[in-house]
Amino acid sequence: MTKKYRFIGKTTPRKDGVAIVTGKADYIDDIHPVSMLHGKVLRSPHPHANITAIHTDKAKDAPGVRAVLTHADVPPWMTGMPRHVKVLDQRVRFVGDAVALVAADTLEQATAALDLIEVTYEPLPAVFDMDAALAPGAPQLHDIFPGNLVTDFPAFGPNTLSKVVRGDVEKGFEAADFISEGTFGYENIANPLPIEPPGVIAQWEDDQRLTVWSGTQSASWHRWIMQSKMGFPDIRAITTQCGGSFGSKNYAPQCLFYASALAKETGRAVKVCYTKDEHFGAFVLRLGSRFCGKIGMKKDGTVTAVAGDWMVDNGAFSDMSQSQIAVGCGEAQLVLNCENWNLTTKLVCTNRCPSGVIRGFGGQELESAFAPILADVMAKAQLDPVEFFKKNYVKPGGKYIWREGNLWTCRGKDYTDAMEKGAVSFGWKDKWNGWLVPTAVEGSKRTGVGIGIHGNADVGEDDSEAYIRLNADGTATIHASVSESGMGQRSSLCKMAAEVLQLPLEKVHMTPPDTLVNPFDFGLVGSRGTYAVGSAVINAAEDALKKLFERVAPELQAQPEDLDTLDARIFVKGKPEQAMGWGRAIGIMRSVTGYGEFKSDYSVPNFLALFVEVEVDTQTGAVKIKRVVTSTDAGQIIDPPSLNGQLYGALGSAGLDTAVFEETIIDKKSGHMLNMNMCDYKWRTFNELPEFENVILETPFPTHRFKAIGVGEISTSPGPGAVLMAVSNAMGQHMTDYPLTPDRILKVWGEKKGIKNETV
């Protein structure tokens, strides 16, 4: 049954569209609270060292300088999970780690003063990969993590998933017709690299009240998460427009510490905006991921057992790594329907820029790492991967242990349809010629196809609250703590409210993302905006209407349930002449407020398949992405261009291109990053766009009034494995390493053809 909606599913202009195209949208570096100072961070040139002496007198005397702080005089705040990261420490643990902070009248003065700080370091041996970090006698990064292993997993309560142990793997492997095993990595530690570097402005109103402005993705994290790290000051978190995040700017604990410490010292507002260098070298990277294990399978594609060790490199410290391991362990179970699991994990510290929250959140890292093993076992069984994924993605009634350790039963839907429609649009049947067989060969150019899938049950994660205020002038105001970092979510929430309230879209507004004026919302993570935040807003709108109808029913001589509203006019159903405008109904000096909430629900996973066609040139080693088709089911599209934009995002933010060219390169001798600028860090340009099509089904979901779920977060995740498969088929040889740069292609091709080439 198709439902006619006035706004939902239609293309409507983004509420902030005009502000964006006229330059009026304010991002963090566009705002300047009165008498604001500029903060800068002195950063370590050593990957691991003790600071034995630090002299700041010259810097303090420099023109315009208002404060210089070192490890000896910063507040005792701590971040990390569990707490192990100070504002500044006497030990630095990666090239780019913070050493001292300066606040000055101008940015130039603050930058100049950094050069006047004299630091003596005692260099320590460092570890740049997991093997070195785990070797006996390896240098230790943190006293609380002996052997450089993080073993405390408090992310989602006492039973947070740190392994998947289900059924009996020994029996599972006995029952298998094919088994593949090996050790494979997804260790590009790529950078999500939003165009805008992160930044925070902090100002203390008094000893206990702190205001922070930032361009974050989830407005309230800078209040509720940071409070516990700073001795519970009353933090007012305000979010500006956010210039891209992809998870990375959900929050910025270090940046917030630096600005807040300098603000405390100076009694002024202090802005700390990272340069692109700092964004590359001292913010967040993807987790390094390596899977060492095996997968067993029957001839018909039934997965009989998954066993192995997932090794995760989180860099110099851990903040959300445990959360990502928990979600990754959950997501693997969605993708592989299997009764027997023994998946263990190790979380390892190394002397490089830390990893943080990034779209794909654990699942992308784990699935990309085991993709070569899965491909190998599918190839042994001669199974069409589309058929395999159709059989194995979680279906209604399917069970999985989610991140907090509980067993959930899927009450979502069967995505077979979505996979089939995607395959048809892509032309899979014509292009798939079997494992390691190219689709076409023309001279040195070989074409191949691949598919990857991914899904997440976090679409209903965590809690949301919202208020909606109906005003006498026929407008409505949504109070919800929701930022705008590119998903168009603020506009989509206005559409949902306008649809319930039957108000013109331009009459529905939203309060700014400011925790002082809004109730709690967890934020825009895990594609939860549509279902979780949407539910709270819809419930608030319904609650407000109910109150309004109850108020006017007696005067309209009707029961509240007999009333309806259209364009701020209330009428008796079937008797449009028995009506009253909102102005009179509400009263010019009053308003009507409704409340709505949402409580977490992990039973409705989303899904995305990504089909890719690549062309490999065996003469140059170039891998060209020719065509991408994604397919999903969104239940009900809220805003077509916003959803399409999220799906196109598969190419951005350390997604599909981590299989082609994206990687962070760290020199294994010095610990310095070798490509920390936008010329050497490769990215896709307008000239290199593949054909791209999104196939979006709309089968109603058991979520909320509009039967929709979100799918944006996961678009980066299926790409890397899909590309690996497509290139393998093009080359006629399993490819196992990310990214598939020309040197890797030529090396493998040369070995295959028996060509010796000294330069590769």
């Binding site: 006229t22 933010s653 936008m678």
Partner: protein, 174 residues
Amino acid sequence: MKKTNGKERTAVTLVVNGVTHELNVGDQPYQVSPCHTLAQTLRETLGVTGTKVGCDQGACGSCTVIMDGRPILSCMTLTIQCHGSEITTIEGLADPASGKLHPIQQSFVDHSAFQCGFCTPGIIMASKSLLDRHPSADKQAVKEALSGHYCRCISHYQVVDAVMDVAEKGEGDR
């Protein structure tokens, strides 16, 4: 214009979005230092913050403005080099009297040709400059003109559609 410290100072004249600014060269907050980039002067000194700085390394295109008819990277241009130039920023595109959006701006709104929107001002300025010079540019020309613009959200497809919509209508050189 006020001179500081009795020292000889030169002044820089910029016409920004039709308004003439005469700026003293010096190191006070309201002055232009010889090391200031045009992006800095626009954003910090003149408070015209619609021009965005994504990398400050000449590699992302977000700081693009139109100077004397050509798109330039304002983060790679020293302000003192711009003396006598006419500069248009994103704030200067809409009709000043009516506030009506330029057709390219309107097309970006109609196509939702942005996600986070941070790359948008630079991309719109480059598109405007292209269509000023080649009102009916084809798709390939648009892609090439925008090839130095980084968009991490991947709004490329919608951007190309938005620009082509205007190019085909021949409204770009309004």
